[in-house]
Every structure is written in C-alpha cells, then in structure tokens.
Symmetry: C2
Subunit: 165 residues, 2 copies
C-alpha cells in the first residue's frame, strides 16, 4: 500500500537494529573484561536493556542532564555528568583503553547535526576502547583504527553501525 | 541471556504492534467513507505513518500543544487544538459518527495514569465511530458498544488493542 518508509517505519528499524546490535555485541565481548559506556541516557530504555543483558558489567552512563525515571537511571557513582567533549577525555584518564562496549544513540531528527556530532566525538571515543572491544552507534562514526564489522541478523543496514578494535 | 523483557523490548513491541494494528485497520476500513482521527500528535511519527498509509483520507489530529517537526504536522485546518475532554465532544457536533478510524497512543510511563485517561475518554470516543469503523489504542479502552477484535499477525497481545463498531 505504501511506496516509501514512514518515519514510524524508520524509527522501528532503528530501535530493532539497536537491540540486535547490542545483543550481538554482548556475545562478542563475553570473554573480555572491562566496563561498558552508554553515551547519553535519554529516557533510559537502552540503559535498562544493557543492564538486563549484561547484569554483571559495570555500566557507566555519560549524560549532561539526566531526566529518566528512577528504574532506568544508573546509581550516582556510575553517572558521568557533563558534556561528552569534556567527559570522554576525562574518562580516558580514569579508565584508559579498558571499555569493552561503547554505545551511542545520538539520533536527533537533524541528520546533519548528528553527523557533525559523530565526527566530533569519534576521536574522543576511539582511544577508550579495549582490544576486541565493540562500538555500537545509530550513526556512522569516523574512526581511524577501528574496523566496521558486519551487522547481525535482524539489524537494518544504515540504521546501526558496529565497529571493533 | 535475559529472563525478563527490558523497557527497550517492551517499547519495540508497542511500536511494532501499533504499526501492525494501523496497517490492519487500513484494510478493514478500505470500503468505508469518512475521516480518520489521531488523538495526540506527539513527535508526529504515527501521523506521518497514517498519512503515508492512507494518502487519500482526511486525517484530523487532536492535540493541545503541537511540537512535531513540520513534515509531521497536519495543516492548520486539520489540527484540532485543545484538551480532548473538550475537543472530542465538539468533534461529535462537527463530524457526527462518521470517523472510520480513531487512533490513540496515550502511552506515558505511568500505567495508572494511562488507564484513568483511557476510562475518561472512552465514552467521548465511542459516539464518534462510524458503523464498521475501527479504534486502535495502545491502552485498553472501556467501551459499551464496541467489540474488541483479534490482533493482526505481528502485533503483541497487551501492547495494542483494536475495537470495532
């Protein structure tokens, strides 16, 4: 009946792809030790999912202004408050290159803005990832040393990206 | 790996069910004449989907405070501004019982609040629906004369409800 995808279609593709990529990433990092970083808390649904999927991991959430409901907000000592342009370099000093999974859903409605943001934070994210670690993003990132890897079954090309060191 | 559904899982189920029910409803009303009502614009994704699915229908959106992006906002003469406790009865005077599809996604995070709202608006929605018309809702509604009908393939029980006069 429809010719083109609606915004609802695209949104569902994005959410389904995000979940498929995160669940796939959880398998890829199973043998690695290290923390998980969630860039942006939003309403906390993805953090809630990460915690359910990786119950034994330290999950640190980078957020400027946390507004999610309590069951989807990390404890204070796992919330890294501030602008990621500042907090990502600071995380390098604290955690080195120990992160085994970093997830970012920058996805606002403005694609150009998302892309500019992805370009700006790529060099800040790259040095945080452990060898074998995985970055999952809803936007294309711009890494020098990380390889884009194949999407898992169920993920829609262009709606999610996975990179691995 | 996971025992229980995460908030992300539940949200995906809700979005997928909403789309499945709306697409199913579009078939059910294909032979009927009359307008479509969307209760609440939100970010406009579902309105965008309805317009793509039903390009030849009049779609009226009931919203107190429209904030969606322009490509997902109806033209001014199809936007019914105000509180639905007032605008639904007024729509009865303007449209009678001619609506062939009414959709509502009341879904805030507070389930008790959603249920109270569903109870309050059910008697306001019920008289607007044409014979054969369909109501799709993300919450259980409380109708006297409308029958709950089976969900289409792909919809998850409890995440969406369909009623028909």
């Amino acid at each position: 009946m429809r010719q083109e995808k609606s915004r609802l279609d695209i949104f569902i593709d994005r959410m389904v792809s995000q979940r498929a990529c995160l669940d796939h990433a959880a398998h890829l990092i199973a043998a690695l030790e290290g923390p998980v970083f969630e860039l942006g808390l939003g309403n906390g649904r993805t953090y809630h999912h990460l915690r359910a999927t990786l119950p034994d991991r330290e999950i640190h959430v980078f957020e400027r202004n946390p507004t999610a409901q309590p069951d989807s907000t990390p404890p204070e000592d796992h919330l890294i408050l501030g602008d990621v342009h500042d907090t990502l370099p600071a995380a390098g000093e604290r955690f080195g290159d120990s992160a085994v999974l970093i997830h970012a859903d920058l996805g606002g409605p403005n694609l150009q803005k998302n892309d500019a943001f992805a370009r700006a934070i790529s060099p800040l994210v790259e040095p945080l990832l452990a060898r074998g670690g995985v970055m999952v993003s809803s936007d294309r990132m711009y890494f020098e040393s990380l390889a884009e890897i194949a999407l898992p079954e169920g993920a829609v090309p262009g709606r999610c990206f996975i990179y691995r060191r």
